[in-house]
């Protein structure tokens, strides 16, 4: 899985450079987030701009990151959701859980 990880001050931005976030690759995103938490990097933005398709495993990986960040007094926020991806959050009611921003700059400014 191609992930671009970049530190912007105290926030780590993970750009998912894949068209799909599914059961095949979502475990790698989860592992990447866990290694950040081990380094006490608990403020994360996941940029999903390039993701066209997300399944329940992809959502599960994001929920895992959200729960871990919250448990460490951090936060995990999302940005760049394409319409079909956004509809998946609405279908599963997860849009009520995550803070979702249209662009990266807005997400970063919210910390």
């Amino acid at each position: 899985m191609i992930l671009k990880v970049e530190e912007k001050g105290e926030v780590v931005v993970i750009q998912v450079k894949e068209e799909r976030l599914d059961a095949h690759n979502s475990g790698e995103l989860k592992s990447q987030m866990l290694s950040l938490f081990e380094e006490s990097k608990n403020h994360i933005v996941i940029d999903l701009q390039e993701v066209r398709f997300v399944d329940s495993s992809g959502l599960g990986a994001l929920v895992s990151g959200f729960k871990n960040a919250s448990a460490r007094n951090g936060n995990l926020k999302l940005c760049g959701l394409q319409p079909q991806v956004k509809s998946m959050f609405e279908l599963t009611r997860l849009h009520r859980v995550f803070e979702i921003f249209s662009g990266l700059e807005e997400a970063l400014a919210s910390f």
Binding site: R20, H24, D55, S56, L91
Partner: protein, 141 residues
């Protein structure tokens, strides 16, 4: 005019690397429908999604990740009905006992079957030829 009939029959190894391939085939099938009056791109996405979710369940739960097994998928369009069948060679799992994820919305797992039920009109899972088949039907209006 005669109604169109499409039948796609595929077998792939029990590996998640094939999810993308099968999902794309489902999308392409949805895009070929000449008479569908609804949002074709939305239908394509939903077919991709239910194929991905049902294959993942077969790979991980029914087949317990065994790479020597295979998943058999059929996609049939006849009259105004789209039918997807996913055959597994496993012991099966009880899809009726899975809770609705809304009441435990911060669980990592358990949304796949909910998504399938939400997007399809009829879902059944039954024994078939020593394994099981998950049958999902959607009316095409």
């Amino acid at each position: 005019m005669k109604n169109e009939r499409i039948e796609v029959d595929i077998k792939v190894p029990n590996q998640t690397r094939y999810l993308s391939l099968i999902g794309k085939i489902g999308e392409d099938v949805a895009r070929t429908l000449k008479k569908y009056k609804g949002d074709r791109e939305e239908l394509a996405y939903h077919i991709n999604l239910v194929l991905t979710e049902s294959m993942t369940n077969a790979i991980r739960h029914a087949h317990e990740g065994d790479p020597t097994k295979e998943v058999h998928i059929t996609i049939t369009i006849e009259d105004k009905e789209l039918c997807i069948k996913v055959y597994d060679q496993g012991q099966g799992f009880d899809i009726s006992t899975l809770p609705v994820p809304e009441i435990r919305c911060l669980e990592e797992h358990g949304r796949g079957v909910f998504i399938i039920h939400t997007l399809m009109d009829s879902v059944s899972y039954r024994k078939f030829n020593g394994g099981h088949v998950l049958e999902m039907i959607k009316a095409l209006q």
